[in-house]
């Protein structure tokens, strides 16, 4: 009886490890879900390792455990390689650097646009006294102001010219 228990020591762990390892292997071979396969892969390695340590203590058969461990390690390697696959595809499609640049540009243009059309309102209140300053930095308003200033300058220049001609 004791001999039977000794012989089957680690056997259940071996079955669990082998089943998990094979499922991991199939999952790892499917690129869509290959990355998740690393989780059952690690579980299978742990199960097989624990089973192997038990089996070596009791001198029981290790065939299933070794098979489970090898398949799990190969499956984990395939699963881990999916990270590089994703990286290569992204690099090939020129997605990551371009996307980051696009996002930065979008944010920059949004901020500039917001600043251009911003309405600034400052309110200072102390007891009953209240001071309110309203201003806007609207792009159109600024353009209008610039045009007005230019017109004023131009008219000043015109008047200056007139003055000179009188002097002659």
């Amino acid at each position: 009886m004791e001999e039977n228990v000794k012989k089957s020591s680690g056997q259940n762990l071996g079955i669990a490890a082998l089943v998990t390892a094979i499922v991991t292997f199939v999952l790892a071979a499917i690129p869509c879900v290959g990355l998740i396969a690393i989780i059952p892969g690690i579980i299978a390695i742990v199960l097989a390792s624990v089973g192997l340590s038990q089996a070596s203590k009791n001198d029981s058969p290790r065939g299933l455990l070794v098979a489970g461990l090898i398949i799990a390690i190969i499956a984990c390697m395939i699963s881990f390689s999916q990270i590089f696959v994703a990286g290569k595809i992204a690099e090939k499609a020129n997605k990551w650097p371009n996307r980051i640049e696009e996002i930065v540009n979008d944010v920059q243009s949004d901020v500039l646009k917001d600043l251009e059309d911003a309405n600034v309102s400052i309110k200072v209140q102390s007891g009953d006294e209240k001071v309110e300053i309203n201003t806007n930095v609207n792009k159109k308003d600024r353009e209008q102001t610039l045009e007005d200033l230019e017109m004023d300058k131009k008219s000043d220049n015109d008047s200056a010219t007139v003055t000179i001609s009188i002097g002659k």
Binding site: Q11, G14, I15, L18, V19, I22, V23, V26, A29, I30, P31, C32, V33, G34, L35, I36, L64, I78, S81, Q82, F84, V85, A86, K88, I89, A90, K92, A93, K95, R99
Partner: protein, 140 residues
């Protein structure tokens, strides 16, 4: 019934076969429950999420669901390797059931049966998944 369960539990090969048959039935149930019309699949492609580019196995769940519903043309449109992978799972389900019966009845040729099962399963696996493996090797 109890003696059959005891027999199954005491033999690793039978236990593994039954567990795999259960896993394959779960895959079939997954394909049957989730509908390609509603597009309510819980599993999404990690590659597509990370890179924005579809990978070689994208549309496999849709393909499985459509095969189960008998829409083979549409299944091919979703994923051209869908039928191969589906047939792999069906073949495995058939093999698990058949080999379990053969194993239980023939005590003399058990070792040969296990070796045949391993070799046949590896060959069928590579036939079904070789395009996916080529894709992984190509990009890693």
């Amino acid at each position: 019934m109890v003696s059959l369960l005891k027999k199954v539990r005491s033999d690793p090969y039978l236990t593994i076969n039954i567990v795999f048959a259960g896993v394959i039935l779960l895959i079939i149930a997954y394909s049957g429950i989730f509908s390609p019309v509603k597009n309510n699949y819980p599993v999404t492609c990690f590659h597509e999420q990370i890179t924005g580019e579809p990978c070689v196995s994208c549309g496999l769940s849709h393909s499985f669901s459509l095969i189960l519903r008998g829409k083979f043309d549409e299944a091919y449109e979703w994923n051209i390797y869908g039928m191969r992978v589906f047939l792999f799972f069906m073949a495995q389900l058939f093999m698990r059931i058949l080999f379990s019966f053969v194993y239980a009845r023939n005590h003399d040729s058990r070792k040969q049966l296990i070796i045949f099962d391993i070799v046949a399963s590896i060959i069928i696996f590579f036939l079904a998944f070789h395009q996916f493996l080529v894709y992984i090797i190509k990009y890693s």
